[in-house]
């Protein structure tokens, strides 16, 4: 028996909770603070909040907004989006966030990621590894909400993130995001074998069976968006989380 972390990813844009498909077409889902309250009640393992447009717009993190979030969040919280200075990072930690997620900075300001890891510890730094196929059909790591290619393949970029001092990797499969097509298990296997830090698999989950497969492929934790905020083919908004007994029977007891 082994417990693994099952992490809802909340996407934010200008203070609203949204959901995308393959990082595009954000649809309005609701109020993030309300969603957090519901997730608290459901005893969720951890929450990941990403401001999806912050890096593209060049807007700094909204500290007051983050303070509102943390005052309602009694589980571990990771935040990513638009962090460009060590001062911002300090302020976000002070606001009560446990972990910072770096994507764009790992390409444009690797020193920043390193400094945060040195000052606050590796456990406080998550490297975001966002993958999609480029125009030649090669799988490449992207930054700035999937718009800028790093030119590196997943394994190389995972090792780069580890070398910057990240304590874990959030492996997001852009092409599968919101697709409910299941995880790319070959990708998870390749990345997990290439690094020694924990990997969180994300992108494509449609149910508990997918979570189990991802962990069996080497992931230490799993994250999903669609699965936790939508229900049914018409994408009715329903904030949900599996019952502890289902997690125990269908995942933990099988590990």
């Amino acid at each position: 028996m082994r417990r693994i972390r099952i992490i809802p990813t909340l996407l934010m844009d200008q203070g609203k909770l949204v959901k995308t498909t393959s990082f595009r077409n954000p649809g309005y889902v609701g109020d993030p603070i309300n969603a957090l309250r519901i997730f608290n009640e459901k005893e969720v393992d951890e929450i990941c909040v990403l401001d999806i447009m912050a890096s593209r717009r060049g807007t700094p993190p909204d500290l007051n907004y983050l303070r509102n979030l943390t005052s309602e969040c009694f589980m571990p919280l990771a935040y990513g989006g638009g962090i460009t200075t060590l001062t911002q990072a300090s302020e976000i930690f002070k606001a009560g966030v446990e972990k910072l997620i770096f994507g764009t900075a790992a390409m444009k300001q690797p020193d920043l990621v390193q400094s945060v890891a040195e000052k606050f510890g590796a456990q406080a730094v998550v490297g975001s590894l966002d993958l999609r196929k480029d125009w030649l059909g090669r799988q490449r790591a992207y930054v700035t909400s999937g718009t800028t290619s790093t030119g590196k393949d997943p394994v190389e970029w995972a090792q780069h993130l580890q070398s910057l001092g990240a304590g874990e990797i959030l492996l997001q499969h852009i092409d599968r995001e919101g697709s409910l097509a299941g995880f790319d298990l070959g990708l998870i296997r390749a990345v997990c074998e290439a690094v020694r830090i924990p990997v969180i698999a994300s992108g494509g989950a449609s149910g508990l069976g997918d979570f189990l497969s991802a962990v069996q492929a080497g992931a230490s934790a799993v994250a999903a968006g669609h699965y936790f905020v939508y229900k049914g083919p018409h994408k009715a908004v329903l904030i949900t989380y599996p019952a502890p007994a289902d997690l125990m029977d269908q995942i933990y007891m099988k590990l």
């Binding site: 693994i4 393992d45 009694f74 571990p76 009560g96 446990e98 510890g121 406080a124 924990p198 934790a221």
Partner: protein, 200 residues
């Protein structure tokens, strides 16, 4: 009123948020007088052992915390704060506060598990204790750590969790208590534990 040692190491805001939700007033301070006069003290901490001890020593708080503990008032170390109660750690060279005998050891040979241990784990309490005076039979808590406490006196080990092998998840000797996990991030289980601490 609970006093939280604010020495720049650790997520003080999260602890205050949860105490506020539990309905307990708290104050953060690094002033020796405030700490000595506290009725209950929390020592938080995340990050590296030596960095935290260096900071406590710079602020001349190591001896202050020893004196506080000597008064017999309750002290709760959280995560690295619990490890600092020990004599030292494999993680660094600095001496700990040394209120409890023993050291902190790195998780090794726990394949396929990875270090740090970053997950929720169930905690088995070894004996009745005010901190775990709770209706939950199997409390579970959120852990983030690469090192675990190894008590020289088995009597000091209060609770056990498993990551590859069993390890000490909470320590207690008289009114000196420490938890390796993060109650402030462990929703209802954390509420119960911090409420128990407030009422102890």
């Amino acid at each position: 009123m609970i006093t939280i040692v604010d020495y720049g190491i650790g997520n003080v805001a999260s602890i205050q948020n949860m105490l506020q939700r539990v309905g307990v007033n708290s104050v953060c301070s690094c002033d020796p007088n405030v700490i000595l006069e506290a009725t209950k003290l929390i020592l938080p901490g995340v990050g590296a052992f030596d960095a935290a001890m260096d900071r406590l020593n710079e602020l001349a708080l190591t001896e202050v915390i020893r004196r506080y503990a000597g008064t017999g008032k309750p002290l709760l170390g959280i995560c690295l704060g619990a490890q600092l109660l020990m004599e030292g750690s494999e993680e660094g060279k600095a001496s700990g506060i040394g209120l409890l005998k023993g050291t902190c050891r790195l998780f090794r040979d726990i394949h396929p598990l990875r270090v740090p241990h970053m997950s929720w784990s169930e905690v088995a309490v070894n004996r009745p204790h005010p901190l775990f005076r709770t209706e939950e039979y199997h409390p579970r808590f959120y852990f983030v750590h690469s090192y675990y406490i190894d008590c020289a006196d088995p009597q000091d080990a209060l609770a056990t969790a498993v990551y590859g092998h069993p390890f000490t998840a909470a320590v207690s000797r008289a009114q000196i208590w420490g938890v390796q996990f993060h109650p402030e991030k462990s929703h209802k289980f954390g509420f119960a534990l911090l409420r128990n601490f407030a009422e102890a």
